[in-house]
Assembly symmetry: C2
Homo-oligomer: 560 residues x 2
């Protein structure tokens, strides 16, 4: 007997809610799911993120609605547009798609596992070769995960597009995972505590709210799977690519891509192209198809504050011995105001203003703040701006605080982890210089190593700063022909697109412009609530389905 | 063959330094140690805390000096004052004293070990009975460690003095200890990495810089041993107590004495007395005999700040979602200024000014700040006042900071551990009220439980405060007859005394005045650098020797 189907809920506006308990059996359920998809695509209802169980009366309604919707669904199935055909193909092949994503996720391609990274790269090279790509591994040196590179020319194509993704995942802390991060599990809902579904013998369609759990499943292997499956779908429906296709899948993104610049320089001629499409990052919280035309840069700072050589009794020495835990609070407040602005004179001087098009794109985004506030359990944001407007500014996040413990003692040291998010045209070098100067002006003794005895005996407010290399932010011109073509293609594939002038999170896409002088645009398909970089990472199936369609459109219809 | 003797160093002012390498053998070594003690007692040299090894020439000098000093030492041995006699007795019985302290320390009388506490209480009752005390255990109820109570009346005595100490120790984190905290080890220096001395067959005198390591060895079992050994010494030299003696040794001090008030009330008639001597706390850093005429009170506050329900990606949400790690810094800075003053209007209104006598006592203290700065590796204190002047003020110490971690995420919560040290006439109740009002005025939503959904959705700056019960500070009048008698007795026993109007650390001695209406004075004997409340707690032998003499004086000579 197959596992019970998960309940599925549709909402129409704020009032009407249509819920399938999953109990009406396979026939009705399949019709219901297909009809739900059709209704959603036509903007009539939205699929709810959270499920609700209905009572007996509701089940009757559900059966009736399923039949009605099933008839409507015929229309959907009769759609002979490119996307209609791709969708039809996908509905039949859902188990194949999920199987590929599950197989990829089972390969432990994380920085701690060089062999897993190697296995993954070889597997992807094979996948490309099987699809007719001229595939190779670009080596970056001893211990550097290879780039999986693929080339497929389209006779008569004017444009060349590079599809970027990464096949490595974040490190894992197994203790925090509900199940093995490399033994993917399909669950009926977002909670990792939901039981695993035995889906191996289930017929499609699957409930699109199901999620596959595993490390890298959505960051970023679902982008790779969406690309490969879109390619297969196009072949199945007899459509050829509209551009010359290049594939560039790296294996070091989660380590900050330390060799990416060198690899781009070394392979400049191979990579000659008109556009990079960056298949990474989460979709907009509205679940609309999402493009981002830039990303904030990144710069990490670990600050260590030195107090007494050993912890001191807080009664006998409190008020006299300097307290590094207290100074940690001073440090944070020296650098940042409650509204998130950064307390460094001249810090905003390098910030490039938003263009009219960028401001318009932000204004056009659907409001997600009320539902995010509910989801996160917060009453208000740090500033009165919306989420996207806020993340257009540079950020200084306090991500780590560590000092003392349960003993009532003045600690010997305190540690503060800070995370700068940079925007064009800030550079890590200039930010570092501004921060250090600011702290010195405020009386800190800025060091880059442990203080020695002479320093301890003569200087106070001892602060060691350890900086990451970091990289700058990036925004491409949203009005150039490539940008406009990508947006139009995405809209044709999936209706209104969430257009982000810049993603709040960081990916080093500035490199493509800087080194190859080519624009780069982000194509996000992962659900925003995917537990990215945390335990129990997951990929929502509907996001994968949408991703396949968007990739199919980019492969077959993009041109300018 | 006995273990090698530890080097011993004497310093005369800043220039002359006399060092025994320990290599001159037992005869000279013993003379050297005795001579050193004599010289030190006569204020001619001070025993160095840190040892220095001397070269060959130094050894010759050492031998000559040992002989010279040995002759001088005869004078010391010929001292027939009470203290001279007690010292003579102690020199002979050093192994017995150390053995008793070691035996007591081996009993795991900590809160986590109810059986260890029971064993210790019974052992102490026996020790008192064997010395002619009418001894009993005062029970405070189920699970409450008993008070060891002893009574010994002196025919004709006018005054009754209660000797307080506690037989419980701080909890242990065994992973942090160099050796088992309940298998005491004698070492030749302060470092717990120094090898254990096999002292069982060594003849006295022992090197007074040796230290015995173990939990509760100095906090507070050395006070109990000093009392018992002083009593034995007096008996040996034929001296009777000058007062009626009461012993009150509690077993819950390190848990904050939660039942002490009840026990005092219940046993009010047993405890009728003229004075309590509180045998607890560290000696002044100058190593002078130390009396404290009060102690700061204590009040703990654990503050939990609530941000989003789950950690959020700091790139995608940084600048928009409220960050509790940042708010932790705001909280700290809302309450405290860099000079240690507390940023609460009216906070100092309850602070009783120091008297002329108290100010004079502070001014008379030897300067310890330069050597403490060296010891702690700090260039300056938080304020320009000296250590003791600083600790006469109320303190707000940041003792714990915890938020986030290595992931670049806005954490869900942040925790701040604060430790208030109160001075007369502040009360925990009023401080709590002032702090909460101040935080509410500054926009915090002050809670005393986890925020529920309605609170989260309507209020920002969510702050949960968990307060300890706390207790107030205390200062006795230093000019009253009992105070003057105690000071004079201590000075007769050991020369200039470090007089602290109030100890920086907290002991609940306010209770004796509040409940029994009797003055209490602190008699500290533990070395200040004893790793109190931390791993590798230790007792320096010279402090124990000094403690025996001070207790002998208090038992035999105190009167007013």
């Amino acid at each position: 007997m197959p596992a019970p189907l998960a309940p599925l809920s549709l909402r129409y506006g704020k009032g009407l809610s249509i819920t399938s308990s999953g109990a009406t059996g396979h026939l009705f359920y399949g019709m219901f799911v297909r009809a739900a998809e059709w209704l959603r695509l036509h903007g009539l209802v939205e699929t709810a993120q959270r499920f609700r169980l209905a009572g007996d009366m509701a089940m009757l309604k559900e059966i009736v609605l399923s039949i009605v919707c099933g008839i409507a669904c015929m229309t959907a199935n009769a759609d002979d547009s490119l996307i209609g055909q791709v969708r039809q193909w996908r509905m039949e092949y859902e188990p194949v798609v999920v199987r590929q994503l599950s197989d990829f996720t089972a390969i432990p391609s994380i920085a701690a596992d060089a062999s897993g990274l190697g296995t993954m790269a070889n597997r992807l090279k094979t996948e490309l070769s099987q699809r007719g790509f001229k595939a190779q591994l670009l080596q970056g040196g001893q211990g550097v995960p290879a780039i999986v590179y693929g080339e497929l020319n389209t006779p008569g194509a004017r444009r060349t597009v590079v599809f970027y993704a990464h096949y490595d995942g974040q490190p894992v802390d197994r203790a925090e995972w509900e199940t093995d991060p490399f033994a993917p599990v399909l669950r009926s809902e977002a909670s990792p505590k939901a039981p695993a579904l035995d889906w191996s013998h289930l017929r499609p369609p699957f409930n699109p709210e199901w999620r596959l759990f595993g490390r890298a499943v959505s960051d970023d292997k679902s982008s790779i799977v969406a690309f490969l499956q879109a390619f297969d779908a196009l072949k199945a429906v007899g459509r050829a690519p509209s551009v010359n296709v290049r594939v560039f899948w790296e294996g070091e993104e989660e380590r900050g891509s330390p060799h990416l610049a060198d690899l781009l320089r070394q392979n400049r001629s191979l990579l000659a192209a008109d556009l990079w499409l960056i298949g990474d990052g989460p979709m907009h919280q509205s679940r609309r198809r999402t493009l981002y035309f830039g990303a904030r840069g990144s710069l990490d700072l670990k600050a260590t504050i030195y107090g007494p050589l050993r912890p001191l009794h807080s009664g006998h020495y409190g008020n006299w011995a300097p307290n590094p835990a207290y100074q940690a609070a001073e440090l944070v407040m020296d650098l940042r105001a409650p509204d998130g602005s950064i307390r460094i004179p001249g810090f905003d001087r390098d910030v490039r203003p938003l263009t009219t098009a960028e401001r318009a794109a932000i204004a056009a985004l659907p409001s997600v703040e009320p539902s995010l506030k509910r989801e996160f359990g917060i009453a208000r944001g740090e500033s009165d701006d919306g989420l996207t407007a806020s993340t257009m500014r540079p950020a200084l996040n306090v991500v780590d605080l560590k000092a003392g413990g349960p003993a009532r003692a003045i600690p010997a040291t305190a540690e503060v982890g800070l995370d700068f998010r940079l925007v064009p045209d800030q550079t890590p070098e200039h930010v570092r210089e501004l921060v250090e100067k600011r702290l010195q002006d405020l009386g800190w003794t800025v060091l880059h190593a442990e203080p020695d005895e002479p320093t301890r005996s003569t200087r106070s407010k001892l602060l060691r700063l350890d900086w990451s290399d970091g990289y700058p932010g990036y925004r491409v011109d949203m009005t150039n022909p490539a940008s406009r073509a990508v947006l139009a293609t995405a809209e044709r594939a999936g209706g209104p697109v969430a257009v982000l002038p810049m993603m709040g999170g960081s990916v080093p896409i500035y490199l493509f412009t800087k080194i190859l002088d080519v624009p780069a645009i982000g194509l996000a398909i992962a659900n925003h609530d995917n537990n990215q970089h945390a335990a129990n990472e997951n990929a929502r199936l509907q996001n994968l389905w949408d991703g396949i369609e968007t990739y199919a459109a980019m492969l077959a219809e993009l041109n300018w």
